[in-house]
């Protein structure tokens, strides 16, 4: 993606300048380093400590005689203990899993489709279309959620449109039924018997198979709506760096448009696809704002996420230890999904490529440049709400 030849800084020969440069280097980097150290690294260390204690949130977790180390009890409370907290965590994981499995493929496919469409040479009003598709990406998650709750109310705009199509829309945000259950129910089916016993993380097999609730579909549509523009831009950059000639050459060789796209263009877009999927996975596993805003709706139990549950445990249940444990489990889930995705995408033509290939800083810079751009854009937009860092 970086087209210019990188310029290399050459160290001046004179020793005194070299010392000055070294001091300046540390001086220049120190504000960012202090902020990252105090508000990013220190929190991780402190939270790790808290996750092993029974601190109740009062006073300080450090040098406090009332705080005892309880080992892995907080982790057990959300994974193996047979109690409400574990069941809530199981539900949050289940909900978020459905969210990830729907949002990531949909937003990636839609973004790619939009990018290919607005990249067509013959398209008129390219600028208008790009603006229209990107605009939702700059708005606030709070404003967008407010708008979507309005659009998806029982007698709202979405149901009005569905009524034109002779479809009787559901009362979206009040409907906790899983869509798989709804479909099975439509064919007269029901719970097959024995599937309602508490299963993994206290959630029954029947609930694991429920699919996203009708209410969660609203959040899913909203996530696709607000991120597809950002990812469209990343794909567009990729398409433009490939250039039209490649596809045209394939067409000359007798491939049809579809073959040329899937056999020539798409493989060349693989680095961008990789970036988009990684950012999508990281972002969707962190859904918080929308869940926080809909916590009072009738189907809220089908919308919770681990990120929201961590907040809730720390701030309303006075269980910062459990909150910290949830944060670390979430972190592990995100790492596991990113590695899995990396493994699946890299597996095909580069079997020898290790997960973290040894690369010089320069190549890391160009490979992760798209990630930096995407991260910055997503953090500026409505879905991936970053807390800086």
């Amino acid at each position: 993606m970086a087209t210019r030849a990188p310029a290399t800084a050459r160290a001046p020969r004179r020793g005194s300048t070299r010392d000055g440069e070294s001091r300046a280097g540390w001086l220049f980097i120190s504000p960012a380093l202090i902020i990252v150290g105090v508000f990013l690294i220190a929190p991780i260390v402190l939270a790790l400590w808290v996750s092993f204690t029974d601190w109740n949130g009062r006073n300080s977790p450090l040098f406090n005689d009332n705080v005892d180390v309880i080992g892995l009890d907080n982790y057990a409370a959300i994974t193996t203990d047979d109690r409400l907290t574990r069941d809530l965590f199981g539900r949050a994981i289940r909900n978020n899993l459905f969210y990830v499995l729907l949002v990531v493929p949909l937003q990636t496919a839609l973004a790619l489709f939009l990018a290919v469409q607005v990249n067509r040479r013959l398209l008129k009003a390219k600028g208008f279309f790009r603006t229209a598709f990107y605009f939702p990406s700059v708005t606030s998650s709070i404003a967008i959620t407010g708008v979507f709750l309005f659009l998806f109310q029982a007698s709202g705009a979405v149901n009005a449109v569905l009524a034109w199509l002779q479809v009787d829309g559901p009362n979206w945000m009040a409907d906790p039924r899983g869509i798989v259950h709804v479909v099975i129910g439509a064919f007269g089916g029901g719970e097959p018997g024995g599937w309602d016993a508490p299963g993994f993380l206290g959630v029954s097999a029947w609930e694991w198979a429920a699919g996203p609730s009708v209410a969660q579909l609203v959040l899913i549509v909203m996530a696709v709506f607000t991120t597809s523009g950002t990812f469209m831009l990343l794909f567009l950059a990729g398409l433009q760096s490939i250039g039209a000639e490649v596809g045209e050459a394939a067409l000359m060789d007798g491939a049809n448009a579809r073959q040329s796209f899937f056999n020539v263009t798409l493989p060349m877009l693989r680095p961008v696809l990789f970036t988009v999927l990684t950012l999508g996975l990281i972002g969707t596993w962190q859904v918080f704002d929308q869940v926080y805003l809909t916590r009072g709706t009738p189907a809220a139990a089908t919308l919770t996420s681990p990120a929201y549950m961590a907040y809730d445990q720390a701030f309303t249940e006075n269980e910062p230890g459990i909150a910290a444990a949830i944060a670390f489990v979430l972190f592990l889930i995100i790492i596991a999904f990113s590695l899995l995705q990396r493994f699946v995408l890299c597996d095909r033509d580069e079997p020898s490529r290790p997960l973290l290939r040894r690369r010089g800083p320069r190549t890391i810079a160009s490979a992760d440049g798209g990630v930096a751009q995407g991260t910055a854009r997503l953090r500026a937009g409505p879905t991936e709400r970053g807390t800086g860092g």
Partner: protein
């Protein structure tokens, strides 16, 4: 160049136009509904023209809530965060790109690693640190943690990498110090990246929500995001009040929408760091 209108092209246009309508309609309907009465907003959910246009929702918003205060807080926090972030990210990006010092690659690795830490995971831990430092529920606690971000440092570093080093060397030979060279020679050449970073930082801090949920609790420190969130999530009671909520959503969207339309080409520039003007 006239092109034969093929069926495929027409179908492509139809799909794109429908999608564009689907992307823009939610915003148009929000603006329109904010000027409707509560009853009409619910009864006529699709109409873009209010039958009896009214400012009632906006009046209630300004008399019944502290939206003015929230706006002032948002402006203050956003200004501080944006200025600080652009400055500190540039400094760090410059050091990582240009200055030779022991530990530079380790620092670079650290910032890359930090970029990978999911930010929502940090919410509760960051609250713990803010409390330890007695910064909880203060402007400082809301602002300082956002003052530098790894992605921004990365964007600046990459841009500095693309600027020829020879120009700076000339300034150095003339006796300018490191900061002087950075400030008056290199930084002005990085203007495109600075504009990109400024816009992204502005949007990011204006729209920031999770951090303000965990770094403060006083109503006086509400920003537009946390304040409007309390409206949207129905803490106002009594009915749905959609025009009021939509009016708040519209008002808080105006600044980012303005910046978006003014800097549209820069924001949508697909080259990294906005290298091309």
């Amino acid at each position: 160049m006239r092109q034969r209108l093929s069926a495929g092209l027409v179908a492509g246009y139809v799909v794109l136009v429908l999608l564009a309508v689907a992307y823009l309609y939610p915003f148009l309907i929000s603006v329109a509904s904010s000027f409707k009465t509560d009853g009409e907003a619910v009864a006529e959910p699709l109409s873009l023209i209010p039958q009896t246009p009214t400012f009632a929702a906006y009046e209630r918003l300004f008399t019944g809530t502290d939206i003015g205060l929230w706006g002032v807080n948002s402006v203050f926090v956003t200004l501080c965060v944006t200025l600080g972030r652009v400055f500190f990210d540039s400094l760090a990006g410059y050091a990582l790109s240009r200055l030779r010092f022991r530990g530079r690659s380790a620092m670079f690795g650290l910032f890359i690693g930090v970029m990978a830490v999911p930010t929502v995971v940090l919410m509760v831990p960051r609250f713990l640190v803010l409390k330890e430092l007695a910064l909880y529920d203060t402007y400082a606690g809301m602002i300082i943690p956002l003052l530098a971000d790894a992605a921004g440092i990365f964007i600046m570093k990459q841009f500095f990498d693309s600027i020829p080093v020879s120009i700076e060397e000339a300034a150095r030979i003339d006796g300018a110090g490191v900061f002087r060279t950075f400030w008056s020679v290199t930084l002005p050449m990085a203007a495109p990246a600075l504009v990109t970073l400024t816009i992204l930082s502005f949007q990011g801090s204006w729209n920031e929500f999770a951090h303000f949920v965990v770094s403060r609790q006083s109503p006086e420190l509400n920003t537009l995001t946390t304040g409007v969130a309390s409206l949207v999530s129905g803490q106002l009671g009594s009915g749905s009040q959609f025009p009021l909520k939509l009016a708040a959503a519209v008002l808080m969207t105006i600044p980012v929408a303005l910046v978006f339309f003014v800097f549209q080409r820069r924001i949508m520039s697909t080259t990294e760091g906005g290298e091309k003007g």
